[in-house]
Amino acid sequence: MPSLIEALAGAAPSNGHYPWPRRVVDERTWSVLVGQLGEGRWTLAGLWGDAGAVHMALLDTGRGELAVATLACPDGRFPSIARHHAPAHRLERTISELFGLEPVGDPDDRRWLDHGRWGVRHPLGACSEADGEGASYAFLAAEGEGLHQIAVGPVHAGTIEPGHFRFTANGETVVRLEERLGYAHKGVESLMAGASLERAAHLAARTSGDSTVAYSIAYSRAVEAALGIEVPERAHWLRALMAEFERIANHLGDFGAVCNDAAFALMHAHTAVLRERVLRLSKSCFGHRLMMDKIMPGGVAVDLDGSGAEDIRSLLATIRETFPQLIDLYDETASLQDRTVGTGTLTHALAHQYGCGGYIGRASGRSFDTRRDFAYPPYDSLRFDVPLFQDGDVNARVWVRIREVEQSLGLIDQILSGMPPGEISVAPRPTGKISEGVSLVEGFRGDILCWLRLDSGGAVARCHLRDPSWFQWPLLEAVIEGNIVADFPLCNKSFNCSYSGHDL
C-alpha cells in the first residue's frame, strides 16, 4: 500500500516546508485523496484557505506521517471534500466565507462563521464591503407530530462561552440538536497576516485561553520548523512541564464541573481547590496563573529554579494524596454514576471518521495522542501510557481524564528529575527566504494543528490554527440524540469543546 507521501504525487512548493512535506497536487490526485479520506485511509487534520489555493493536512496515524496537499484554485473554485467526507463540512464553509473560494458540490451552502455582521465579505480573500445588518439562518428541519423546539444561547445561563443550540425535542427526548457557532469569531487569522513573530505569538496564545500553553507550543514549533531553529534542550522540557500543568488544571476543573452538572457539588468544591493550587503554583513558578506568553519561538521566557522544583514536588504529593479519595467518591456514588453511565454515547466509528482527538476520541476507543504518535521532545524520551476506554459515554470521558491526570503526574516526576541544564532560548533570526512550517501538538483537549508561512523578513504572512474542537463539536450533535434535554449540560461539559478556539 502506498504511503501518504507516495499518494501525494505532486510538486514540492518552491519554499521549504518543514518538518513534514507539502505537495501541490492536480485536481485528479486531490479527488483520489478525498476518496481515500472517505474510505478512512487517512485522517483529516486540517483544511484551510490561502490566496488562491486550499490546503489539506492528512494524517496516516498508523505510520505517524503527516502531509499537506495543496490545490491551486485559479478560478476561485475547488471540488467539495465534505461531499465525500463529512468532517470537512464546517471547515469548507469557513474557507468559502473567509476567502471567497467556492466548494463545488458542497451539500450545505449556509454561512458558518459569517453571520452577515462583519460589514465585509471574504475578509481574507478579495475583500468587499457588505451591509453588516445580519443574515437569517435556516436551521435544519425536524418534522413530526409533537415536536417542539428549544433555542438556547448565545448568552447561556452559566459562565460559559457564546454559542447557539437549537434543540428539537419530543417531550423530554432530544430528536435533533443543531449548533450554530461563530459568535466568538475575532478574526485572529486576519490579525496574524503581516504580524511580527512576537505579536503573532501573543495572538496564538489567546486563541483559546484554556489551552494557551499548548497553542504557544504549537505556534512556536511551527515557526521554529520554518526557520530551522534548534531550540535548547532545556526549553523543550520546560514547555512540557507547563503543558502538563495546563492539562492537569483543566482535567481537574472539568472533572468537578461534570459532576456539578449532575448536581453533585461536593466534587466540584474539592477539584476546584486542587485546580486553584495548580494555578497558584504556575504563577509562582512561571509568573502567570495560566502561563500565558511564557513560551515563544526560540524557547521559553522563564526558567525553573530549585525552590520551584521543590514546590512542584510538594504539590504533586498533595494531589496524590487527595485525588484518589475523589476518584473513590466518583466511583462509589451511585446517583452520580446513574447520570454519567450510558449518557451521551459516541460510537467508535464516528470518533474514528472525524479524527476526533483528545479525551473524547480516547473514550470511544480511538487511540491517538500526538505526544506518542507524532512524538516531539521531550515526550520521545519520557514514559507514559495513553489511557483508552471503549464505552464512549460521559462516564468514559471522565475516566480518561482521571487516568490522564495520573499520567501527567508521572510525566512531571520524570521531567523534574530528567531536565537537562543549559540555556532556555535562542533568538529567532529571519532566513531571508519565504519559509513554511507546520506542527501538531497535544493540548488537553486534543491535537492542535498550526500551519504558517513566514515572509523573507521573518514576519507572519499566513497562519492557520486548527483547534481540536473542529472535529468534536459536530459529534456533540450526534451523541445527544435520544438523550433527555436535562442531560445536555452533562454531555456538553464532558466534551468541553472550545468556542473561541473554533470560532477563531
Binding site: G119, P123, E161, P162, Y183, K186, S190, G209, E276, T333
Partner: protein, 178 residues
C-alpha cells in the same frame, strides 16, 4: 463520602481573608452609583456573566471566584442565570460583531438599577484583537460601562477587589458621590 465530609469539618479553613477593595476602582465607581441605587441594593449583588467574544481565559478566572479560597458568595455576590435577575453584568472579551446584538439585548433585559463591569484588557478596548473586521471594540463601545477591571486575564483577587469596591460603594456611598 462520609470520610471526606468529616475531614472537611476538622481541616483548617481554606478561605482567605478579604482583600481590600481597590481604591482607584472605588473612585471610578463613586460617580457611577447614585444614592437611590445604594438603598435598593443593600449589600447584595446578583451578577450575570456575559462572554462577548473572549478567549475564555477571563471566564476561567471568574469561575475561580467560586472556589473555597475566594468564596465570593460570602460577600453577598452571587452569579445568576438570567439577566432579569441581575444587578451587575460582568462582561468579558472584545465585543465581536457577531455578539454585539446579544450583548445589547442582554443589557436591555436587565432591570434598572444596573451596572456593567468590563472584565479584562479585551473588554477595555478590544485588547490585542482591536482593529479586526470582526471586532467592535471594548464593551463601552456597545453599552455604558461603570467599572473596568484590567488584566489578561485579571486574577481572581483583582476581580474580587473590583467587585468589593462595587458593593462597598453600593452599600455606603463614598465622599465624592452625589
Amino acid at each position: 463520602m462520609r470520610k471526606l465530609l468529616f475531614e472537611s469539618l476538622i481541616k483548617p479553613v481554606l478561605t482567605e481573608t478579604q482583600p481590600d477593595p481597590d481604591l482607584a476602582m472605588c473612585a471610578e465607581l463613586a460617580t457611577a452609583l447614585g444614592q437611590s441605587a445604594r438603598q435598593r441594593l443593600g449589600r447584595s449583588l446578583a451578577i450575570r456573566e456575559i462572554d462577548a467574544g473572549s478567549c475564555n481565559g477571563c471566564e476561567l478566572e471568574i469561575h475561580a471566584l467560586n472556589n473555597a479560597f475566594y468564596d465570593i458568595e460570602r460577600f453577598g455576590l452571587r452569579f445568576v442565570a438570567s439577566p432579569r435577575h441581575a444587578d451587575v453584568l460582568l462582561v468579558t472579551g472584545p465585543v465581536t460583531r457577531n455578539m454585539r446584538e446579544a450583548l445589547e439585548r442582554t443589557y436591555n433585559a436587565t432591570p434598572a438599577p444596573k451596572w456593567v463591569v468590563a472584565v479584562g484588557d479585551c473588554a477595555a478596548d478590544g485588547g490585542c484583537f482591536a482593529g479586526s473586521y470582526a471586532v467592535v471594540g471594548g464593551v463601552a463601545a456597545v453599552v455604558p460601562v461603570d467599572l473596568h477591571i484590567g488584566g489578561c486575564p485579571p486574577s481572581p483577587e483583582t476581580l474580587l477587589k473590583g467587585l468589593l469596591a462595587l458593593i462597598q460603594d453600593a452599600a455606603h456611598g463614598s465622599a465624592s458621590s452625589p
